[in-house]
Amino acid sequence: MKKHPLAWLTFIFSFGIFIASWIRAPFYPLYFLAIAALISTALFFKRSPCFNLSLSCLVFLLGALNLITCDTLPGYHIAKYVNYYRSDTPYIIKGYINNQPQAGSSRSSFIFKAEEIQAANLRKKACGNMLVYVKGKQNLSYADELILIGNLYRPFTPLEKSASLQKGFLTGGNKALKSYRNYLYNQGIYAVMYVKPGCGIVRVGRNRGFALKKLALGLKKKIENIIFKQVSYLCAGVLDAMLLGEKRYVPAYINKLMLQTGTVHILVVSGFNVGIVAFIVFLILKILRVPRKARIIISLPLLALYCLATGASNPVLRATLMAAVLSLAYFFRREPDMYHSLAIAALVILSLSPRQLFDIGFQLSFVSVLSIVYLYPKIKTLTRLDGLKIRWIRLILDNCLVSLSAWLGTLGFIAYYFKIFSPVTVLANLLIVPLATLITLCGFALAFISLLSQPLAQFFAAAAELLVALLFLINTFLAKLPFACIYLAGRG
């Protein structure tokens, strides 16, 4: 704590958010308390212990106030227009699509940012995101400006049931339903709309949204098309998940298999993928003999683009922010510190959206990195690994310790949320992670080479097929080992 004040302040800030989620505190008394804490912090500027104490109190109150502000919806928020009673009059809402629509065979869904709503024959200003379901396959994309006509609900049981099953939530019964509603709330979604079939969508324009996100999603679509054209559906599904974070094409049994062996993290875009992208970008720029500082300047926007293309989920955002902080440390010739970069990433995410603290992805992402940073050096010293003479054994054991540290850190969270305990995880990660690295590299190479030469791309496609097949074989073998995975009581 002495060496990492930012880590301490981030912890205090998170604690403030956590406490505020349990206690319904009024805003203004807390706010005046925070002002008093700010004044006392300024007054104790020269007295370190008092300054630290008042600063900690202030940061704690800031965390609590941030959550209260986040949970306070403006008077014109879309959720405030939802009737509690059933109404036959459909809602008419104008706004734009705020994510990449998910097109299924029977229905499409997307997040819609509301701007105007027709209520009681009057057009009123609106704000907030809502989840929209439309029957059939729709040709929609991010930033499409639409007028939607349909029924508006708060997330409730029937929807929660179908959606939680679709999302593959493992906890059973009401818990899964409640957790899906909480998941939506944590994402800032307080309303769900079912669009009227037939003529419930009126297209107004196409030029809304964030230009960089539009570019990123356009690139993502192109890469997806290349992948699905070059390799089999199964392999393309895995590559799509590993490269671009689109998990919907991965068959459920493969997902289950990887969950059992504790390697499901490679099927979502995480810090691991961001690291590989950063490595590829740096390598290409190094080959092109671009100077070191210029490499950092070029790589940061590319990482941001990748973050946006993959949906800016918590693990990717965490990894991108950490990469940015570490790169800037190199740029300004400062000593890079993992704790500080991790703390800055957490502070940025929680300041923008404090409800992310309760997101499983956020918790697992930060806990796994924190346990690697904290536990790995300690276990390494304890096992006296550096004393080992044979280099390749040392390397293997080193990787084992990294996996072990991450496993130990996330053990409790995985047991609590997924009701599963996988002793095979450390061994599985030792084998799967290098393979996943190769698959990811192969996938990116395939996407890039396809633009230049189709015949050459076939070699990468064949290699990707082989590696994905190997991934399944190893996973199947590991999952069948005795005591590979133990299901805990209370699992649905």
Partner: protein, 109 residues
């Protein structure tokens, strides 16, 4: 606890004070905001034009089945076009109560 340099303290104080001010403004704006009325949307928005709607579009209206849909299309072909919505009542199967139920979904252009 932790040790901070004078410069670090200044930066942290500045950031924390800015964040506090920002949170206060954000909360107040949210707390005291009300819905503002604007002009109404086009009242015909989302209604189906009886003269151009195809089979699928007609079927999407609740209360219109396969048979009724076919009768509406046949009527339109026979008469050339609908001149007013009330002509729906001339179609076999559309009673006065049914007409009241479905008329809100249609428009004649």
């Amino acid at each position: 606890m932790f040790e901070l340099t004078r410069q670090e303290k200044q930066v942290i104080l500045f950031l924390v004070a800015t964040a506090l001010a920002g949170i206060g403004i954000d909360f107040s704006v949210k707390r005291f905001s009300t819905a503002q009325s604007m002009a109404a949307f086009n009242e015909n928005l989302g209604k189906i034009d009886l003269n151009s709607a195809d089979k699928d579009l007609l079927l999407s209206v609740s209360g219109i089945g396969e048979k009724l849909c076919q009768r509406i299309i046949s009527y339109r072909q026979e008469k050339g076009r609908f001149l007013e919505q009330a002509e729906l009542k001339n179609i076999k199967g559309i009673t006065a109560s049914k007409y009241e139920k479905i008329k809100g979904s249609f428009i004649v252009r």
